[in-house]
Symmetry: C2
Subunit: 748 residues, 2 copies
């Protein structure tokens, strides 16, 4: 269960849980596809899992071997960080014979439809061995079955399984080829399995190796012809190239990835391991180029959370990609452009008179909201509780707009704006304008009746985070229009005409100016999370937990124990301070951090890293480190709950993975980039001797090396121009290929 | 329990449950005082019950007799409607001897501090009888004890018990005098009882009669001297006047009351009885002149609902008094003037930036809100549920302002405006203005985040009832200022300066003009109860009840079964159509009535009569009658629940009493009065041959007699001027003392 998560591999197109070759649906084998969803009846809509083209089982003397059985003498499995290669080695003992299986598996980083497996068996004594290998269409689904009309076929020696989703009849095709060069081969197609059966007498001590190639194609792939042919052709080509060639191409891609994204930490192996694992996760699930896919909250690790994309992506994953790998960041943003019409529909249907783009809280392929109004179970009544995540968590549109603008600000690449990014920004601004109310007496706009990041307190007014994000969106809209007017006046004209929005622009500006955002109290520095928050009951997380009657009772949803108290689910004001970290002085960050932290349950994996980031900002590095490590180790240790009640919740936490990177590089590394420059103000944790990472900025690349008292910037020799960075407050010229080193005084 | 409610008597100063002379706290004897409240610890604040000065017990041969015991041969108790006299007669048999007790009791309508009792015993055989009579300070309290430092004293032959409330040390004094002229008298003071003990040998067949007088005084009585002396003096004077004289004065007052308020219905004895009983209830609990008290939701029948005044008073009781007995209506309004500062405090503390007067949802003597944020128990968790009655049911301020203005409109008496009524209206308008938000795009104000009369759907936007009431308040404020400017410019000047409100008045006008109130759909005529109501799930009350897991589960409070559905607790849009009955055509009333009625649980006693009223308006008289009768019989039949869980909920329903009168006179009688004229459009129910009632209008009095096809108006001979009424659409001159009869065509 947990191992399936920890050892999973992925290539952006699909994720393959870290299960073993002989496993099937009962052992929760999952090959989860990006961007293709299906719904059965009234159950949750969720991503589609593909038939398993990686299936291989081995029988010894007629008995099928499984690593979960009693004959296992030895088992070892590994996941390589450098190229996301999964390997296993299992020795089975049966009637005095030891048979060892070795396999390695990768999902090609070069060819996203392709998976490759090398499989070998070796018996210490001569033995009768049967290998069944091919496609297992017994698919594990949370709310399936999603593939109907499953059919098995064979094209020459290539096996094919084909099915189609029941909601929209999207076809999913898997082809598999194998280069088995020993034994008697026959074919067997039964019980949703399409297999080739190889029977042979294994000589003692001889290793029998073969290679498998499987390819997955769906109607989402613009193959311009038969899906089956495309899949068959893909595996044939791979087989013809051979395993080594495929692996070499894959490895080359992975070397590029790591070159851009690796972070090294000297002096702290634990942090190094956890952070690298986090980065590996992000690199594996980054969308395929041109796919306009995004990364779901559980990435490609399965169907949990409906495979939906949340704000997590923009807030916690996007920063990693925009700072290291903008080609991936742009796909995340293209996904929001692709789903703009869904967001427009939601604005129309979810609000009274709202317009523009209100993005889905749980977004799938069309941008329709997969979030239900009744999203949490009540253990007391067995009923579902009404929550307002879907209809009131409006900050999502601002999160999207801010990321969209950041892409432009930090890459300098305005093509995204032109291909729909500006349209997204304007429609998000329009949404907030139509959502806001004006308080005549106070001459100000207010953002009312929302849910902020702290989901325990629903339907609040003037939530600092949401209002700040809304104001920022309105401001960005004005800036984007200003930029396009200067640089792309014709494109702007077309856009304004299309949206019929020109007359509204002054109102956006006015609203941005007059929009109320709760600010720091002049005496205490505390920013009130929302109207009335400071008047709520004092409590502690422990106290609330002690008052719980049922272990699964939810603390929010209007009547939960946290609702009348100041206890919050996750960073909210502190999240705002993190997102807008250049806007607030250190003292305000500290004051709010110290006020809110003891009142935070950290009931979400997003919370710890926001607190870690802000703690790093104002200098509580020990705390920052503690929460950094907690965040970075989530998936590696996999100590989270995998079941809530009877619902499987396991899977990876890409937002935490991104949060770990953010805390390391932006927090401890002190990197702060905007459209003008990159600033670096390091505050290494005390055990860290060196922090080394890559930065992408305005199309150029930099390697940054931070020691206890120096910062060295190594601009790539291929950089297009010289940049001025501000390191520890001092401007540093960073010319292509020229190292620049600055000494700084560590904060303590 | 129920009988204590059905047979209760009251005189506006106090209510005396219909318990028997010999009963004590265990039998729930309650003498509930108007306008004096106390709180013990963190329990609910509630009215104070006075020590029982009406206590008398009789022992026969040493054994105390009680009507709850086994020796009762016969018992009969009655409540006279004409003078609110409670009588009982009980025959006890013990060892062959039958002893009969007769008593009659009234709370003086002439002297509100006074209660008078005639008590007699008669034994059919000679017997040793002991009578204990005096003051029993064993008080039944829901959340007591409220009276501390109880002390008993005797001033000559007058018994006194004195105590003081624990919250604010308000003294409560009871004095009792008796004219016992037989037997041996001694005194006994023990166990909170202060008694006189009369022992005598009763002769066979001889009736021994005595009279008791008890007086209650509290620190709320401005006696200008010692409370004890005042109480002692009161009972001495009553004793000196004698029972007959006291009763005669009482009766004279009651004749006046009935002359003003009686309604006769020929052809329907059931309706006649129920309606008279309802009117009796209202007359008994009407506030004492000059008290500036109002009528709580359970009137003076006990401590249920914290003895608090709700909107019920303005919406359901005030119409009865304003149309029949304006001297009582004015006290209800003075109560709101008296509690204006409490309402101002609530506006400041309950809202962010709201100003003006936000009246308490559950109002006690200071106008502080006795309503808790957690007002309903959750049977699943045993916790209290957060409800928004207190902080979001803002229509209360409009209900008050409308009634305040109606007092002026229908009496022509502007003194109330000058003594604080205009201030209340302006402060309520200010509240709504400060509460409203402006929607820039739509150029309109909206009233957001409220609870309307249908409390199952909390925190809704643009609730038709609330918005209409808010707009009306803003309009009334402008009209009131206009009136005062013409008639009382100096007083207006003082008021505007005091409130510093003059600059705000144009904004009120503007807001009234631009305030959005959901109107009828052009096609269906349906008025949407609030934003989004029409999109809620369809259901039926039966369906919801079938889905209930626990019999006491509440259907609202954010997660209740009714919340996602269209099922409403009580009349809401229909209540609005009732309150503003001249503003909507019959077809709209019918359309909304027919839409909402099947979706209404009628979970409040206020609901049925609103539906009955509106049904009468558009001509569904059978339905109107059915709900009229249901409303009118509530207290007489007392079939309501008296316990909810362990909480006593019994008591009278003065709002339903008022609703019964409204339905009879305004509904079936078709009376509609405004500042210009009285209109009468009768629509008698088919069995009613005649409906006869009194009307007070602009200081003059009228008797109206409606038959199946005539309306006769009998203006009082003492009327000051000739009025023009509009009867069945025709103007009718109503000169003092001159009968005017108009024929009309019955609606069917």
């Amino acid at each position: 269960m947990r191992r399936g998560n920890v050892y999973q591999i992925a290539n952006g197109y699909m994720g393959y849980r870290g299960t073993l070759d002989e496993f099937s649906s009962e052992q929760l084998v999952g090959i989860t596809l990006a961007g293709i969803f299906d719904r059965v009846g009234s159950a949750w809509r969720e991503p589609v899992n593909a038939p398993n083209g990686g299936f291989t089982s081995v029988s010894l003397g007629g008995a099928e071997l499984t690593a979960l059985g009693k004959k296992v003498a030895r088992h070892r499995q590994t996941l390589r960080f450098d190229n996301a290669l999964f390997q296993r080695e299992t020795a089975f003992v049966s009637k005095g014979t030891t048979l060892t299986i070795r396999s390695s598996r990768f999902l090609s980083a070069e060819n996203p439809n392709l998976g490759c497996i090398r499989f070998s068996v070796m018996s210490d004594r001569a033995a009768q061995v049967t290998i069944r290998t091919g496609i297992d269409a017994n698919i594990w689904d949370l709310n399936g079955p999603h593939l109907l009309h499953l059919s098995a076929a064979r094209k020459d020696k290539v096996l094919v399984v084909e099915g189609s989703t029941n909601e929209s009849s999207k076809r999913v095709v898997v082809a598999e080829a194998s280069d088995i060069g020993f034994g008697e081969v026959s074919y067997e197609s039964s019980g949703n399995r399409n297999l080739r059966v190889v029977t042979f007498r294994a000589e003692a001590g001889k290793t029998y190796t073969f290679h498998k190639y499987f390819a997955v194609f769906t109607d989402n792939d613009a193959v311009g012809g038969s899906l089956v042919e495309a899949a068959v052709e893909a595996v044939r080509r791979a087989a013809s190239d051979g395993h080594e060639a495929c692996l070499a191409a894959h490895d080359a891609r992975w070397r590029e990835k790591w070159a851009r994204c690796d972070v090294t930490i000297d002096g702290d192996d634990e942090a190094q391991l956890a952070l690298r694992y986090s980065i590996l996760q992000l690199l594996m699930v980054a969308p395929v180029k041109g796919s306009a896919n995004s990364i779901p909250a559980r990435a490609l690790s399965g169907q949990v959370y409906k495979g939906a994309i949340f704000w997590d992506t923009e807030m916690f994953m996007f920063p990693f990609f925009i700072h290291t790998y903008p080609e991936k960041a742009v796909e995340l943003m293209r996904y929001r452009i692709r789903t703009l019409n869904g967001a427009r529909r939601k604005a129309r249907t979810e609000g009274v008179g709202t317009r523009g783009a209100f993005y889905a809280w749980e977004s799938q392929e069309t941008g329709e909201d997969a979030c239900t109004y009744f999203n949490i179970g009540d253990p007391f009544t067995g009923r579902a509780l009404r929550t307002y995540f879907r209809d009131k968590q409006v900050h999502i549109s601002g999160d999207v707009a801010i990321a969209m603008w950041d892409y432009f600000r930090l890459t300098g690449d305005d093509s995204l704006l032109l291909e729909g990014g500006a349209e997204v920004i304007l429609e998000c601004a329009r949404f907030f304008y139509s959502f806001a109310y004006f308080k005549s007496e106070k001459r100000r706009y207010e953002i009312l009746d929302v849910v902020g990041p702290d989901e325990y307190h629903e339907r609040v007014n003037n939530n600092a985070f949401t209002s700040m994000v809304a104001r920022e969106t309105l401001t960005i809209a004005t800036e984007a229009v200003g930029y396009l007017r200067r640089r792309h006046p014709k494109a702007l004209g077309r856009l304004l005409r299309k949206l019929r929005i020109e007359k509204e622009l002054p109102a956006f500006q006015d609203a941005a100016r007059r929009l109320f955002v709760p600010g720091p109290d002049p005496k205490t520095g505390i920013i009130e999370q929302f109207d009335g928050y400071l008047g709520l009951q004092e409590s502690t997380v422990e106290e609330l937990k002690a008052r719980m009657i049922h272990p699964n009772e939810y603390l929010g949803a209007g009547q939960g124990l946290a609702v009348p108290t100041k206890i919050i689910k996750q960073a909210d004001v502190v999240m705002m301070l993190n997102l807008f970290r250049t806007r607030f002085p250190s003292a305000i960050k500290r004051a709010n951090w110290e006020y809110y932290e003891p009142r935070t349950e950290h009931g979400s994996s997003l919370s710890a890293c926001a607190y870690a980031m802000v703690a790093a900002e104002f200098g509580n590095l020990d705390f920052a480190y503690k929460y950094f490590l907690k965040t970075a180790k989530i998936d590696l240790e996999a100590k989270y709950k995998v079941y809530v009640g009877s619902v499987f919740m396991g899977g990876s936490h890409p937002a935490a993975n991104g949060g770990a990177w953010m805390t390391a590089v932006l927090g401890f590394g002190g990197v702060q980039a905007d459209e003008r420059r990159v600033a670096i103000n390091p505050r290494l944790w005390r055990k860290w001797k060196r922090l080394n990472f890559h930065l992408a900025y305005k199309g150029d690349d930099f390697r940054i090396n931070i020691t206890r008292n120096t910062v060295t910037v190594a601009p790539s020799g291929t950089n297009a121009r010289t940049h001025t960075m501000v390191v520890a407050g001092r401007p540093v010229n960073c010319a292509p290929g020229r190292l620049a080193t600055v000494r700084y005084r560590p904060s303590r």
